[in-house]
Symmetry: C2
Subunit: 210 residues, 2 copies
């Protein structure tokens, strides 16, 4: 609660990452920095907001693929309920669509795990200084991808069609008629410019439309 000059106390960081080894390694790594302190670590998306409310971090470092709640959804919720906390997304996949959705969710930065570790602490400091940290190449790709042309239902059906689920399966899960499911699927295939569900799902994921 005592904030005075630029950097009175170390940056308080919340770390959300499901892989134990990665989480531990990152925490150790960040802990070695003079001006950074990892105040909370969580392994599931639905623990993020609670942890942020109790530990009041300056920055939340969020993975996207998390059990419970996606890091992107958690980011959106953080913006509302813990406004003082900036969000830095740290993810395996540099999909253009992820970046788009991260920005929509109010993230202040977007890092891929491919980069060197040294980038991380720097990105945290830059985000805290008010900068928006994004890989320029990725930003370009995200812009060229455009917004999603898929309707909500088309998304649902596409998602439910993963892993070899049949039309009947999807219809049962979503309480739709089989005809309707096929219609949505056909629409999604058309909009993605692909030849079948599998390709459509792949394309939609790639562009962040699901």
């Amino acid at each position: 609660m005592t904030d005075e000059t630029p950097r009175a106390h170390p940056v308080r960081v919340l770390l959300a990452e499901d892989q134990g080894m990665m989480r531990g390694a990152l925490a150790l790594l960040l802990g070695m920095e003079e001006d950074i302190e990892v105040v909370a670590q969580v392994a599931a998306g639905d623990e993020i907001v609670d942890a942020a409310l109790t530990h009041r971090p300056d920055i939340a470092l969020l993975d996207i693929e998390l059990p419970g709640l996606s890091g992107l959804d958690a980011a959106a919720e953080l913006r509302e309920r813990v406004p003082g906390c900036r969000v830095l997304i740290l993810t395996t996949f540099g999909r253009p669509g992820y970046l788009r959705r991260a920005m929509d969710a109010g993230a202040a930065g977007f890092l891929v795990k491919d980069g060197p570790v040294e980038e991380l602490a720097g990105a945290i400091r830059r985000v805290l200084a008010g900068e928006t940290v994004v890989d320029p190449a990725l930003a370009a790709a995200a812009l060229s991808a455009g917004p999603s042309p898929l309707t909500g239902r088309e998304c649902d059906v596409l998602r439910a069609s993963a892993d070899g689920a049949t039309v009947a399966d999807v219809a049962a899960v979503l309480h739709l008629s089989e005809s309707t499911v096929r219609n949505y699927l056909s629409a999604a295939i058309g909009k993605t410019g692909t030849r079948n569900r599998a390709e459509a799902l792949r394309a939609a994921r790639q562009r962040g439309w699901v």
Copy 2:
């Protein structure tokens, strides 16, 4: 250079991991241990053997999903060409089939990235002491899965059917007739006890049959 008690020199470790952040963090982490020295880091599977030949590590810490050559294939090659080097597999996915194939490839240990970081250094020491390090629950699952009933061609066709490739696509890639492709696919679906290619591929992957 300074020899003390148990070991004359620190354990020489080769680290193969494609995610830069993970690789860097692990290297830093292991480097902090007194008795461990990371002598080489590579990001691609096809660099592993070369690096091992030049740096002569005691242990190779290998991810499975790597560009170029899979960590499992690299492990098999290491056993042949760098016999003094033990292999410890470190992977995201605790699929039973991965474990099976790792053991077939002559790995001395199998760790999942989910576990705590502290496990890692301990596992390295235990492997070096001659132990075989495997998660017991995973070992049980691997045994219950049984060996692959799929023939070589059935595997090929299944793999080529990923991501929505059509029968015609697969036939073209593998230089087969469409009838033949459908026959293999049908056989694979039957042997996996599934309903279509997508499920068959999923099941086969899960059990390590591809």
